[in-house]
Symmetry: C2
Amino acid sequence: MASEQQGERLRASYWVETPLKAEDAAAILAGEQSTGTFVAVPGETEDLKIRHAARVERVEELETVAEPSLPGSRPAGGPYRRARVEVSWPIENFGYNLPAILSTVQGNLFEIAQFSGLRLLDIDFPASFAERFPGPRRGVAGTRELTGAHKGPLIGTIIKPSVGLKPEATAAMVGQLAEAGIDFVKDDELMANPPHAPFNERVDAVMRVINDHADRTGKRVMFAFNVTDEHDAMLRHYDKVVESGGTCAMVSLHSVGLTGAKRLAEQGDLAVHGHRNGWGMLTRHPVIGADYVPYIKLWRLAGVDQLHVNGVANKFWEPDDSVVRSIEACHAPLLGQQNAALPVVSSGQWGGQAFETYRRTGTLDLLYQAGGGVMAHPGGPAAGVRALRQAWDAAAAGLSLAEAAEANQEFRQSVERFGDAETKKQVFGEPSS
Amino acid sequence: MASEQQGERLRASYWVETPLKAEDAAAILAGEQSTGTFVAVPGETEDLKIRHAARVERVEELETVAEPSLPGSRPAGGPYRRARVEVSWPIENFGYNLPAILSTVQGNLFEIAQFSGLRLLDIDFPASFAERFPGPRRGVAGTRELTGAHKGPLIGTIIKPSVGLKPEATAAMVGQLAEAGIDFVKDDELMANPPHAPFNERVDAVMRVINDHADRTGKRVMFAFNVTDEHDAMLRHYDKVVESGGTCAMVSLHSVGLTGAKRLAEQGDLAVHGHRNGWGMLTRHPVIGADYVPYIKLWRLAGVDQLHVNGVANKFWEPDDSVVRSIEACHAPLLGQQNAALPVVSSGQWGGQAFETYRRTGTLDLLYQAGGGVMAHPGGPAAGVRALRQAWDAAAAGLSLAEAAEANQEFRQSVERFGDAETKKQVFGEPSS
């Protein structure tokens, strides 16, 4: 390790709840995740501790509560103190090994009885990581280049039903969507390489349609084929997409881990679409798990180009504030990476959310993915795609949703079809009866 | 897919909490994870539903609660109903693709607003999986063979401090442990391939000692080298261990996922030691995440030979009942697999827990891992190892802890050094002052 990197430290911040004093709990965290042992052992010298011990950088006490939030906490009896804690590690402890870093910042921490609540809030990587982790090869800029979609959000949709369609039926749907002017289509995470729609046959059928459309129009629709599978099969799937003229591979991040995601990104030919299914297990309960921001950083370091972030006013559980933070974290400068990750906005999106999404984030660098909003538009998919572009153009021009609906027939139809009662009232006034 | 496999279904069971009727919530779960769409689409035909829809097999209603356990649940307002639910899928939906199965049984389920609590309890795989997933190549029997430890639990320990020791210091400790008669030693999960103890140098130093000891005594200590790293580096590490005469590779399961774990197990030369660091995030809160039993099945199908299960009366949060279920699930018949996985019992173990562990599980087919219990024994590591074997021999012979302490000097010293007040009172009577 070059001398200029010596002394560099990785930092992680946590929300904790503990029956101990907050600083004592923080010290346990630091000890367990570096040189500490429960019983002193001969090798645990002062010199070793100086070089390798994790350090508590900051403890900010918050409120106390009477009951522990997690079972199995010890010692028994409150009050349980909540705090924000920041800990740092010398990079000599793990080097440039992302999985080892994950074991360090999370590891067995959630098992520790002295925590009655624990949540990973953020990770800060030292400057020298920039050389080893160039980040997404495609990201926002590369995805725009591959699709020829240079202005506004990329408009995308997902093949539904999630499973059951045979390759030819999938391809027929892709043909319809390509004609409709879509930029991006994806497999559902449930659709991988099943007997009724084998991966290679699906690629052949879909890419015939996409290549034909590209030849005729110059527009190459990006299809995210779900390559998730056993390791070698996954690489074969990836190669099949490359050979067939495809531009994107989707992977279920939590099935392949940091190791698999980075391996796939290093192939370098396709944009890697990172699907976060399973993430809800790690994030939904506020007293355990992790925020998405540190995970976005890890996936970006691994080179993932496109990251699911849910959407404003989504059909899932997640609050808008959390979605906005995720979109920002995909774009935020990270170790001088040339490419931001492309946030994939989805879940119950139909265009109406464009206004609030733009107001909160101020960006058009995203993939806006609507299922029903495209396929179930009263005017058909082409009208659905137009409605989504109308919504974003209007939002970017500073118009309100009502003004956009007034000016654009297709978007007005979307409001009629998909808007909730309050939105319809804004646009159409009180219902007549 | 051969005709005899048609009609096979995979089953998963869940604990759920919902503001809806339990059967309606179960139907949403089944729909979201198979053919359901929020807005009807043209391809969602009756025929497709018959072939691919998930089916609710069973709903067992439990208690109701007034407040939702998870944030973001909708519709608002209680009561919130708890239930056990079993759902099945035709295997045509995913084939023999473990990651796709994970996306199917977990996927976006934890994001769904109609659940205010959700926990995966178990998975049952159809019979035809037996052919494709032979399970652990080494497991209990293979690990015994590789170590020559044919009777009683394998006795193991872990190198501490977790990080900071240079290869020669690590090797010196291994030498001491080998002389002490240990069967197994492992890297900490924090120790992978850091600048101060590069993987190859650590293997060279440690295997010199182990090979030398094997040449002199015929006993080959198993060292679990933590190969966790980027994918190609991980395979290089694995090969390095093989070339050097090693017998075991340890991997952080949650960093490499099912894909990486299976790829590693398929190499076939070494026992794969599966470390579950990070698992606490997924399991500690009872209203979200998963039990370990379905994960043990997944890791066994992926071929992992040795699985961490925590220990009875551990220093972590986990209750004994959960530990006992995990030990049993490592051994339970699974699709006719020839080898059970070897349960790795650890966390605060010093021998005293042998009695309750044996009483609850009735098995000696486990790896019993003690840190301080070996290294900090008053008589030194050799006495520490002897004490652990004495404890297990006594437990298997039906002796009590007090009888074992009476009959065995080293174990009596362990009780003095590591026992809690109650255990000491059992053995030594009331303290004199």
